[in-house]
């Protein structure tokens, strides 16, 4: 698992590579804690290279969103594989997150 953080159009875009599961979730949370400490207002997370997400991974994303909302920050998830998107639907989390098909679209429409 790896997290790559880039700046694009005054936005923070994060690329996660690999699995988000019980073993990697604590590291992902740590990576985002730095951004949250800086109160980054808008984050786009590109999940194109994520092959698997388990419950702890979902919970970690919820926790990051929760922490961002304390200072009015917003998060968008993009490029989700079909399998992972259906996981968000089963767990009824698709309404909690802003899920956008494509990264470019998410960036240009992120106002």
């Amino acid at each position: 698992m790896a997290v790559k953080i880039e700046e694009k159009n005054n936005l923070t875009v994060c690329y996660i590579d690999g699995e988000i599961d019980i073993n990697t979730s604590p590291d992902i949370k740590k990576a985002f804690e730095k951004l949250i400490a800086k109160k980054v207002p808008k984050i786009v997370i590109n999940l194109a290279k994520v092959t698997y997400v388990d419950s702890s991974g979902l919970a970690t994303l919820v926790e990051i969103l929760k922490n961002m909302r304390t200072y009015g920050g917003r998060m968008r998830l993009t490029n989700m594989a079909h399998k992972i998107k259906s996981l968000f639907e089963i767990t009824k989390l698709e309404k909690l997150f802003e899920i956008i098909e494509d990264e470019a679209e998410a960036i240009t429409t992120f106002i």
Partner: protein, 267 residues
Amino acid sequence: MDTEKEVIISARNVVKKFGERAVLNGITLDIYRGETFVIMGGSGCGKSTFLRHLIGALKPDSGKVSVLGKDLSGLDEDALDAVKKKIGMCFQSAALFDSMTVGENVSLPLREHTKLDRSVIDIVVKMKLEMVGLRGFEDLMPSQLSGGMRKRVGLARAIVMDPEIIFYDEPTAGLDPIVAGVIDKLILDLSKKLSITSVVVTHDMKSVFSIADRVAMLYEGRVLEVGESDTVKNSKNPMVRQFIAGSPDGPIKFFQQKDDYLEQLIK
């Protein structure tokens, strides 16, 4: 149905004796990934004992049990623990820890086995309790819950580590028909939505045919019949037919006395 099915659990000629009495007389079964497999049979047919072999709680006297591709009897404690973390088990009595709240019960494996933060664990617990319809019950003690609710908490605890296989021991025993139906629906939901393999031990005929993809019937420690749910339902085997119909008369005898009753009275 897929043409190529991956075997996730395999039992080969499993024999188990308690003292002189043979409980399992050579059971051979394959269970495939993603299916709901029901093991049925009368009391004392060895189905619970067989289940204990699949979760690594008992070791066979001879024969082999493989779960997730690993031969259980050949594993050391650490390797066995690694397999155990990938399976979940729902007990007949729910087996909740009395000294812990519902939330603590569900979160225990996460708290002890992972490095997740408390806040993340709390979210996972909420998600799992939502799946079994018990969100908001985190702070109750198990003694404050009804039987059906306890079973659902047990189910939430069994799936908290995202297992690949869930085992159910008599999930509907002792529940009223509506609650039993709710549990059956939960089992179906979990296995279909999350594509978890489910292995259910039961003698509740109503739930067998509403949840099972495939069914095995055990009798006196042997596999009497195994096959697709409908095949077993329309089986020609008189023993299977008697069991499904629940009739007292048939090849399976419940009264087996050696002495003559009248002779014993006047002896």
